[in-house]
């Protein structure tokens, strides 16, 4: 009787040595004559335990981690193939406190299945959403998604159903689904984990989207920094096509849909939807003015539903379990769950999927385990490089779109980056402007020139040069960038800078009274 041992293939697990661990497990089993079948699953999201090795026992899966190759013989000695006790053991995976309290809807399969095995996907509720969708009219699918309250998880939080409705109602000879997988925000990796850990969910979600809006072709625009995600997607797309889940007349339904993966080339701006469309067309990734909305005039001038990976991967469960099931999670106008990514200086960082409304303190202290350095946390950036910084006085804020917006911040793509008390917030503000400059497409002047001037002004303030004058000039610049920029890159760069100035004036050598 073969024993199944799981060793993740997620890039974060690989970054911590999962390949060597998998090789060691196979070699040791062979040496001992044990019949072991190693499955390369996605990651459970407990990145501090990677490589997290799981063993399938009659009583369920048992977790051990982090497992280095040199730990492997000891694990065999301890009888880990039958769930035996070991210093690295964590007991049944499902019962681990970190996982148990989560509400995994979008990430239900990630870490559990073999991400490239279609039969495993089907055995874990895969393609049930599409089967439902094939029974519905396009308008009924759109209504389901609208009622679920799903909003764009890429950061803009626009209601997905309303966007789809616009594309559905647009008349055109060709429509497209464009999946935005250009996950460039520092502190975020949920798109990557879906693409590597459950690519069929994204493929299914896109297929449902295609049927809903009348699109027969979709592109996934993946950043080049994600080579493992690109390979996983291409493999899964080929498998789905061979099995008739993509292509002409899907499973005899009369619906046709196919997908191509396209790779970015090192441009954060291409995560902005219009810039991504230009890039997909083979052009410089320049921002297009809106209107026209991509939903009406998008890729190659055709109506295009542009959606983030997590948004699309959340669609199958909405169709499978119903809009209400999904909408019952969450608070206020933030419905459903959010895959939250805990990053930076944390003891136990990783991916936590929870209903909206979870507080920062629960995330940082309970899930995150406090700082990795053991020093007091000082600043937290939420929502990527264009997100605001917060201090500990905000830790009781619930994570929800409206609450953060009222507190001059954003949820963005759900990334939380923690800094301890050694952080220099003037340097962080300077970096925010520098990053804007590095990634500016260069089309509009507030961002093209403003980001460079902003970096210079903050440097001057840091060097104590005409502090008061340069501070005033900086405030004026941030106002111009916020209100006159063409897109959110220039338009939101004030958030990290202003929040750093407001909460940590001493780091700039400024009096608190100056920054009110």
């Amino acid at each position: 009787m073969s024993v199944t041992v799981y060793v993740p293939r997620d890039a974060a697990a690989l970054a911590l040595g999962a390949d060597a661990t998998a090789t060691a497990v196979e070699a040791e089993a062979k040496r001992r004559g044990e019949d072991v079948h190693v499955v390369r699953n996605g990651s459970r999201g407990m990145v501090w335990l990677e490589p997290l090795v799981e063993v399938q026992t009659p009583a369920g899966r048992v977790a051990y981690g982090p497992v280095a190759p040199e730990d492997v013989p000891g694990l065999f000695d301890a009888g880990f193939l039958t769930g035996g006790d070991h210093g690295l053991g964590h007991g049944p995976t499902d019962q681990m406190a970190w996982l148990k309290g989560q509400e995994r809807l979008t990430f239900a399969r990630v870490g559990i299945t073999d991400p490239l095995a279609l039969d495993d996907y089907l055995a874990h509720a895969g393609y049930r959403g599409l089967k439902q969708a094939l029974e519905l009219t396009p308008a009924e699918i759109v209504a389901q998604v609208t009622e679920s309250g799903l909003r764009g998880r890429g950061g803009a939080a626009f209601p997905t159903g309303i966007k789809w409705d616009t594309v559905l109602k647009a008349e055109a000879p060709q429509k497209y689904i464009a999946c935005n997988a250009d996950e460039g925000d520092s502190g975020t990796f949920s798109d990557r984990m879906i693409m590597e850990g459950d690519p069929f969910a994204l493929i299914e979600g896109m297929t449902i989207a295609g049927r809903a809006v009348g699109a027969t072709f979709g592109y996934i625009y993946v950043r080049s920094e994600y080579p493992h995600a690109i390979r996983a997607l291409r493999s899964a797309i080929d498998t789905a096509r061979e099995a008739g889940w993509l292509g002409n007349d899907i499973r005899g339904s009369g619906t046709s849909f196919d997908i191509d993966v396209r790779v970015g080339a090192g441009a954060y701006i291409c995560g902005e939807e219009t810039s991504m469309l230009d890039s997909l067309e083979g052009k410089r990734g320049m921002i297009r003015p809106k209107p026209p909305l991509p939903a009406i005039e998008g890729l190659f001038g055709m109506p295009t539903a542009v959606n983030n990976v997590v948004s699309l991967a959340s669609v199958p469960i909405i169709l499978d379990r119903g809009a209400k099931y999904y909408a019952d999670y969450g608070v206020g106008r933030s419905r459903g769950t959010l895959p939250i990514q805990l990053a930076g200086n944390l003891k136990t960082p990783g991916l936590v999927e929870k209903a909206f409304g979870v507080t920062l303190r629960e995330l940082i202290e309970d899930y995150g385990g406090g700082t990795a350095s053991g020093r007091p946390p000082r600043a937290v950036q939420i929502g990527g490089p264009l997100g605001a910084y917060f201090d500990e006085s905000h830790f009781d804020l619930p994570l929800d779109y409206e609450e953060l917006s009222e507190n001059l911040g954003i949820v963005g793509h759900g990334g939380i980056v923690v800094f301890d008390d050694t952080v220099d917030m003037a340097e962080q503000a300077r970096f925010a402007m520098e990053f804007c400059g590095i990634e500016s497409c260069g089309k509009c002047t507030p961002c093209r020139v403003g980001s460079t001037r902003g970096t210079e002004l903050i440097e001057k303030i840091m060097h104590g040069e005409d502090k008061s004058t340069n501070h005033q000039q900086l405030l004026g610049l941030l106002d111009v960038m916020e209100n006159a920029s063409l897109c959110a890159l220039g338009g939101m760069a004030h958030l990290p800078v202003m929040s750093a100035l407001r909460l940590f004036p001493e780091d700039f050598g400024l009096e608190a009274s100056h920054v009110e």
């Binding site: 441009a267 701006i269 410089r284 003015p289 209107p291 400059g437 590095i438 990634e439 500016s440 497409c441 260069g442 089309k443 509009c444 002047t445 507030p446 961002c447 093209r448 020139v449 403003g450 980001s451 460079t452 001037r453 210079e456 002004l457 001057k460 005409d466 004058t469 340069n470 000039q473 004026g476 610049l477 106002d479 111009v480 209100n483 006159a484 920029s485 063409l486």
Partner: protein, 238 residues
């Protein structure tokens, strides 16, 4: 002649090309104006005698939305949309002048000034200089910083030259080369602050795909691309 064909008054730059369509009536600064559907607010403002300052827009080219000088306010709508890329709508109430708009326009012009040779400001007569006059700003508060003044002048073409120091990266030359002439000899090279107008693969103009048609010279608002005949004794940077 060209303007007559297009139904536009001679000597007036409407900012965006004319459209044909059903009449749409809106007000600009309280002045009622009727223009074809699909027209820009910028064009309607000119028609209403309330022209908005602009740099990257000209009625020979499709709107682009990059200079952010032509911002306006629209009743019932948040923010400050660019009038060149904003389409007219029935009953729309547009404001082209307010303290806030002046503040933002000055802020944008200050950024241009921070990367424009100071000595070229006083005696200039280009569209860029006129826009500075319109908005009422001649200096900036950024002090010293990165600039493009040391990029070499390209005088390879016998008829015109390109001085990148005076380029405001509005892409009007690139777009004229594409939309007016159909040559596609120009591009923007790089991105962000490093964006630079380049002929072919950053070749000298004479070695590039340029056919010396002059469309880019016509289009340039800042005399970065300029006829050599204007400088009798040869071009010298101020």
């Amino acid at each position: 002649m060209w303007n007559e064909i297009r139904g536009l008054r001679e000597g007036v730059d409407y900012g965006t090309p004319p459209r044909q369509g059903q009449p749409v009536t809106l007000t600009v600064d309280g002045v009622e104006v009727t223009v074809p559907e699909g027209s820009s607010v910028m064009l309607a403002a000119v028609e209403a005698g309330r022209a908005v300052p602009k740099l990257c827009a000209t009625d020979m080219l499709e709107s682009f939305g990059s200079c952010r000088v032509c911002l306006v306010e629209v009743e019932g709508r948040r923010g400050f949309p660019a009038s060149c890329t904003l389409m007219v709508a029935p009953g729309m109430e547009v404001r082209t002048q307010s303290e806030r708009l002046t503040q933002l326009r000055k802020g944008v012009m200050e950024l241009y000034l921070s990367d424009f040779p100071e000595a070229e400001i006083a005696d200039g007569w280009s569209e860029f200089h006129r826009t500075l006059d319109d908005i009422g700003i001649k200096t900036h508060g950024y002090g010293t910083g990165r600039v493009h003044f040391d990029l070499p002048v390209d005088d390879s073409n016998p008829y015109f030259l390109f001085d990148p120091a005076k380029c405001i990266v509005c892409s009007r030359c690139v777009r004229a080369c594409e939309e007016v002439q159909g040559t596609f000899a120009l591009t923007i090279q790089g991105r962000g602050f490093d964006s630079k107008v380049a002929a072919s693969q950053d070749d000298p103009f004479m070695q590039s795909e340029c056919v010396s048609c002059g469309a880019c010279i016509q289009a340039c608002p800042s005399h970065a691309l300029v006829e050599k005949s204007l400088f009798s004794g040869g071009y010298e940077r101020a």
